[in-house]
Symmetry: C2
Subunit: 222 residues, 2 copies
C-alpha cells in the first residue's frame, strides 16, 4: 500500500485526528496494513512483535477456542475499533480475529512503536486513554448484563446495541445485515444456539422482528 | 493534611513514581485527601466536579443499589487501586464506595485537573494507560469466569485471587482477614448468599478451609 493511501486511512481515524499532518505522515512509516477476505484469520503474535491493530474497514469477530475445542465469539468489532494488545500489556491469550465482512482492512503498530508514539504525543495519549475508558465501560455493561439480566433481556439488548451501531433505519423498521450465526450470537450473550433460535422464533411470532439468512428486520412497534 | 504528608502519600503510589519531586510537589497542590472510617460512604459526585480517586490506605468496596433496593458489591479495592471516574468518561452510574477496613485514606483529583496532568506528563500518561489496560484484563477475566465457569469454580478462583492479594501465608495455611459478608461474596461471584454459605461449609468439611467471623483460613493441601 502506498503512503498516500496509508495517510488517508489513518487520517480518517478519530483517534489520530489530534495529530498534525506531518505527525500523521511520520506514523505512516511505522504502520503496517493488512487486508483480509471473509473467513480469513488474523492471528495475534505473542513474540516480541506484539501488535496493536486498528480496524479501518469491515467487521471482525474476536474468537477464542475453549478447552473442548469450541469456537467462542468474544466480541464483534466494527470500523474504528482497536484490538490485539490494545491494553498495552503482553498477555498469553489465545484470541484471534476472523473477518466476517467481505473486505476487511486493518492497520497495525508494533506495541513498542505505539508506546513511543503515545509518549511523544500527549494529546494522542490522552485520547487513547479516554478511548480505553469507553471500552472499559462497554465491558462493564456487558458484565452487569450477564450478572443481573435474564437471557431474553440480554438477547434484546444485544439486538438493540447492534441496531444502534449498524442498522439501516426505515420509517417503520431497522434492517441489519445478518452476518452472525445463531451460535455466534449465543456465545456473545452467554447462551446456547438452541435458546437463540427459540428467541428469534418467539419474537418473530410476536411480530417484533423478522429474519432471513441475510437480514434481520426489527419492527418499530408503534 | 499538610503538604509534606500529601507528598509522602503520593510519592508512595506506583503511578506517580515516574514524576520528578518538583512535579510531585506541584500536584500536591491540586490533590484532595479524604479519610473514612469503617462503614463510611464516599459518594462520587456527578456534577462538574467529577473526580478520580486513588486509594492510599485500607480497603473499599464499590457498591450499587439495584432496582429492588439491594446493595450489590461490584468490586473490592485495595491500596493502590484507582476508582471513581478513572475511565475519564462522565457517566451517570449510581456507584459509591464504602470503607470496609478501619481506616481508609484516599486522594482525589478533579477529572479536568487530572487530564491536564496527563497531557503535561507523557510518561505519567503512558503508565496510566497501561494501568487501565491491566484493569481491563482483570474485568475481562471476571467476565470469562462468569461465562464459562460454574459457581464452585468461581468461588474457588475468588478465594485464590483474594489470598494472592491479601493473604498472610504460614507454612501450611493462608490467613485472610474476613471483612466481607457472605452476601458481599455472593454478589462478587454472581451467586446467592445461601450458595456461598453452603460452599463455605462444604469446603470446611473437606478440610480445604476453615473460617470464623474474623478470619478465613485456607489450608495448603499437600
Amino acid at each position: 500500500m502506498n503512503l498516500d493511501t496509508k495517510y488517508w486511512y489513518l487520517r480518517d481515524h478519530k483517534l489520530f485526528s489530534v495529530l498534525s499532518s506531518s505527525e500523521l505522515k511520520s506514523i505512516c512509516m511505522i504502520s503496517n496494513f493488512k487486508s483480509a477476505k471473509k473467513g480469513e484469520i488474523i492471528l495475534f503474535s505473542h513474540d516480541e512483535n506484539t501488535r496493536v491493530y486498528f480496524l479501518k474497514k469491515g467487521t471482525l469477530k474476536i474468537v477464542e477456542i475453549d478447552d473442548k475445542g469450541n469456537e467462542i465469539v468474544k466480541d464483534v468489532l466494527q470500523k474504528g475499533d482497536i484490538f490485539g494488545e490494545f491494553t498495552l500489556t503482553e498477555s498469553q491469550s489465545d484470541e484471534y480475529a476472523v473477518a466476517v465482512s467481505d473486505s476487511v482492512i486493518c492497520c497495525s503498530f508494533k506495541m513498542d512503536d505505539f508506546e513511543k508514539l503515545l509518549e511523544k504525543n500527549p494529546q494522542l495519549s490522552l485520547s487513547y486513554t479516554k478511548w480505553m475508558g469507553f471500552r472499559f465501560k462497554r465491558l462493564q455493561n456487558k458484565y452487569a448484563n450477564l450478572m443481573f439480566k435474564d437471557v431474553r433481556t440480554r438477547f434484546k439488548s444485544f439486538l438493540e446495541e447492534w441496531a444502534s451501531k449498524e442498522g439501516m433505519a426505515n420509517s417503520d423498521e431497522i434492517i441489519l445485515k445478518n452476518y452472525l450465526t445463531h451460535q455466534d450470537i449465543a456465545s456473545l450473550i452467554c447462551s446456547t444456539r438452541q435458546t437463540v433460535t427459540q428467541l428469534f422464533n418467539e419474537l418473530k411470532e410476536q411480530g417484533i422482528l423478522d429474519y432471513s439468512r441475510t437480514e434481520i428486520i426489527l419492527k418499530k412497534v408503534a
